[in-house]
Structure formats: C-alpha cells, structure tokens
Symmetry: C2
Subunit: 314 residues, 2 copies
Amino acid sequence: MKYGFGVDIGGTTVKLGCFRQDGALLKQWEIPTRTELGGDVIFDDISGAVLGCAEGLGIARQDVLGLGVGIPGPVDDGGNVNCCVNLKLGVFNLRQTLESRTGLAVRAGNDANLAALGEYYDGGGRGSQSMLMVTIGTGVGGGFVWNGRVLNGFHGVAGELGHVTIDRNEPERCTCGKFGCAEQYASATGMVRLAKQRLAACDTPSALRQVPELTAKALFDCAGAGDALALEVLERVYDVLGQAIADSCCICDPELVVVGGGVSKAGQPLLDGIARHFAKYCFHAARSTRFALAKLGNNAGIYGGFRLISGREP
Amino acid sequence: MKYGFGVDIGGTTVKLGCFRQDGALLKQWEIPTRTELGGDVIFDDISGAVLGCAEGLGIARQDVLGLGVGIPGPVDDGGNVNCCVNLKLGVFNLRQTLESRTGLAVRAGNDANLAALGEYYDGGGRGSQSMLMVTIGTGVGGGFVWNGRVLNGFHGVAGELGHVTIDRNEPERCTCGKFGCAEQYASATGMVRLAKQRLAACDTPSALRQVPELTAKALFDCAGAGDALALEVLERVYDVLGQAIADSCCICDPELVVVGGGVSKAGQPLLDGIARHFAKYCFHAARSTRFALAKLGNNAGIYGGFRLISGREP
C-alpha cells in the first residue's frame, strides 16, 4: 500500500492529512503557520510534520507517493509562487522548496484550486466529468476541474471568478486593484459592504439595524427571519454570483457548479438564489448546468492536495 | 505514412483539407453546403468528397487516421450536436453520422473550437502551452486550448466569450436571447449597430455619414483615416473586447490570446486597442498575458479538424 499527504497552508494554520492510496484519510491535524520568523520556518515545520507523521504511522519512505500542497496565491504548473501576501512570501518555487526539505515528490497549487480538486474527487463534485467550484468566504475564489485535472493557468490564476468585472462603474477599488469585481459584492466582506450602503441610504426599519455586529451570517439570519432589507441585499448578491458564474460557464462550461466556502453554510437558499439569477445570464445551451453544495468544508484543501499527488499526471 | 482529413462545415460551403500525419497540407478544396435538400445530403456529400480524395491521391483506407469535423453550433465531447440553426439541423450525433457513412474514425467539435485548435498547433498560437482564441466576425466566438486539447465543455459551449455579459442594462436582445452580451457590441454587426447609434445621437460631421454602406470595414477604414467618431466607436469596441477577454482570462488564464476572424484583418491597431483595455480589466497576476494575430485565416478550421483526429487523445 502507498500513501500520500495533503497540505493546505493558510494564514493562521497549516492543515495536513495523511491518506492511503485508495483515498482513505488516516490522520488529520494542524500546525500553526509561523510567519513571524520569516518564510523558511513554515517549510521546516511542514517537512517535520509530514516526515514525523510517516514515521509515527510506520510508513516507509518508499511507500510515500509524495505530498500535494496548496497556498493562498497564484501558483503555476511548475510550482512557482508569484507573491503570497498573507504569508509574507515573495517569488519562490513552492515545489522545489518542499522537495528539497522532505526528499519527497511534491506538487503545488493555489488553495482554491486544490479545494476544487478535493470536492471533485471526494465531495460535492463526485462523479462529474467537469466541475467549477465557487468558494465564497472572506473573498470569492474558485477552480475548474476537467477530466480529473485542475486548471492552474499559465500565471496560476485560473478559476479566479471573484475578479470577473460585474460593474465597470464601481467607484471603490477591489483589494486586487481593479474596480467592480464580483468579490466586492459577493464575498462575506462584500455582502456586509452592500448591506451597510443600503442601510445608510434609507430609513426603512430592518433587523439589520439591531444586530450587534453586521456580518454575512447576520445577513443570512435576518433574511431567514423574513427581514425585507436583508432579503433585498441578498438578492443583489445572488444576482452578482449568478452573473459571475454564468460568465465563467461561457468559458469553461462545466457539468456541475459546486458552491463552497464559509458562506456556503447558508445552504439551499444560497444555492437556489444563485441558480435563479444564473438562468438569466447563462448561455442558452448551458441552461441545464447543475448546482450542488460543497461537502468537505475546511478539509477540501487536504483532499485536493492528496489528489494532486496521487491523481493522473498532466 | 498516415493521413487525416479536416472538415469545416459552414453555412454556404464545406471546407476540406487532406493532411499528411506530419501536418503537411496535401490538398484543400470546397464543396457547397446543400441544406436545401435536408440535413442528410451534406453528410453524403462530405463522405463522398473525403473518400473520393483518398482514392484520387492513392491513399489506402488503413492509412487514413480519420477525419475531424467542425460545425457552427454546440458539440459535446461525444459528438452530440444540440441544434445547428444555420444548417437547419436539430439534435443529432455528428460523429456517428459521419462514421457510419465513411467507415472512418471521426471526431467532432464546434467550428470556433476547431479554429482555435488549428491556430494553436499551426498558426498564431504555435509554441504556446495554453491559448485562448477570440474569433471576431459576424459573431464573437472563441476557444480555449490547454496542453494540446481544446475544451469543448459539457454542453459544447466552452470558449463562447461573445456571450459574457458586458452591460446588464442593455435594452436590446442578443441573438442568443440574453441582454448585453459582448457580441452585441464587438461583432462586425455589433460594431455597426454602435456606430449607427452614435451617428443618430449627434450631428458631429464624420466620414461614416458618407460611406455607401456602413460596415465594420468602413468603420476601420474611417478610423485609420483619423475620423474622430469612428475612432470613438472603435474605442468602445476595444473596451468591450478587453473586458470580455480579461473576464475569460480570470477563468482559463492562458499564456496567449490569439485574435482571429474576418474583423482581425484590421491587424495591429485592433490588437493594440484590445490589449490597452485588457490591462484595465485583467487580474494583476495575468497582466503579462500576450496577444497575437491569427495566421491561418479561413483555413484554421480544417487544420483544427486534422489536429482533432491526429492529436493526443482525451
């Protein structure tokens, strides 16, 4: 039996998983992301964690297929990372960095793309031929998987549907520097921004005015309780997501769209809202594109990492 | 030596090419698209043309790899065509239809996707790893090629960047039934529509008011001669194309964008105009995406057909 590791590097923790070649998750754990001591420490920590786990489980070096690793930033097919702001890392090769430390085969990708790969094989996308994953959290990200392979893109930015332009007249800048990106309206932060704008522009009574902190969760809760203003704001959010996904489907035309990320805890109402607006913006022949919720939650990245190293080669 | 055929079915003619396995074009010819007698006649005509050519060139049946065929409509990976309005054809399997008539292996695709594949291997995209082709003619189409394979999409509509929504407030309908598609502003027809709208809305003198027929070519000619109004309309067109391509690149992130189709005869000014606006809308990490003109003209489809049958299998 062979084994593989999935590693998902986040801003505060690194999630790790040890898998059997047949896909069974044997062990899952986290270590802190120590960025304060400079970039190299993380990679020593990861290397130690992976090799230590293999030793602890009695897995011989030659039985390890390798590790697949995701990072929040653009990663190209060769493993080159072009700046990772959250982790205070510049331009470097993630694949080589971890290969030299672990002595294992390494494959690297963007965290959202890895999550997409995980959902494709083991989550909401299971059984589909091609899948677009949409991750709605602090930002809006995504990934496209086709015939078992995730598309990284030449510059490592494939699947970035949060940066499709929705409103070219938007006066505020997106964190990416552009104006009017989908993320500015449909991420957790973007939804709150829209809600605050709407509340400031009217005197309509709304439960949103009473919540101690206006968050995406509060917005969904108030909408669930029938608050008209919250429902109106969410309708706008669904409209933006419907368009961004429809535009994306004109390009990659997947069998299935899987919606994940923290905001997807809102569940079926979110999915229904998106699908309703998608129908308005999608190209007619793709009208039957199916929608599903992600299933792996925060584990999608480690599953995807494992599939990156154990899956079909490019 | 083995041989392959590329067949590009258009509204008025079917273009055919016979290729040697190494990619050399041995013979190229056209036959009329006889739709008036019902759908089946075209396929008999194509079958006769291909088999006749092989016989004429003394190519034995066992030395024919097969034929790759393109049609103006959505075609999925299995060769299913979901309605082809121009050719008065409904739902049928193009692959099986031609396999049963010719006894040869057949692979089928959308005509814009086949043109993309042709340019990737033998034209403006040669040497690139991934390429987005944008075809600007009567409509705006496109195709995405990755590691030598063109993406058809689950519903056969991948690469349809002409139907990315640019202006959700557009009051007129696109031929596809939606509102505000890129094609409504940036196809040859769309450009003329914009120019007419602009001319009707002002009294500004313009050479466009004197041309016997207002066409996309006239628009480029007047702009080339310095006509301010023509330049203004084209600036709008470039802006739309820049956004549609930037949105597409957020999803597929190609190394290279190749611009083809009848309108691409306008050459470098068109390419420069698009690239200028692309820079405004593209995600920062993809800013260095290169642009090039297509090279194969009307032959792109037959080259792509040949590459579909002779290239790497899915």
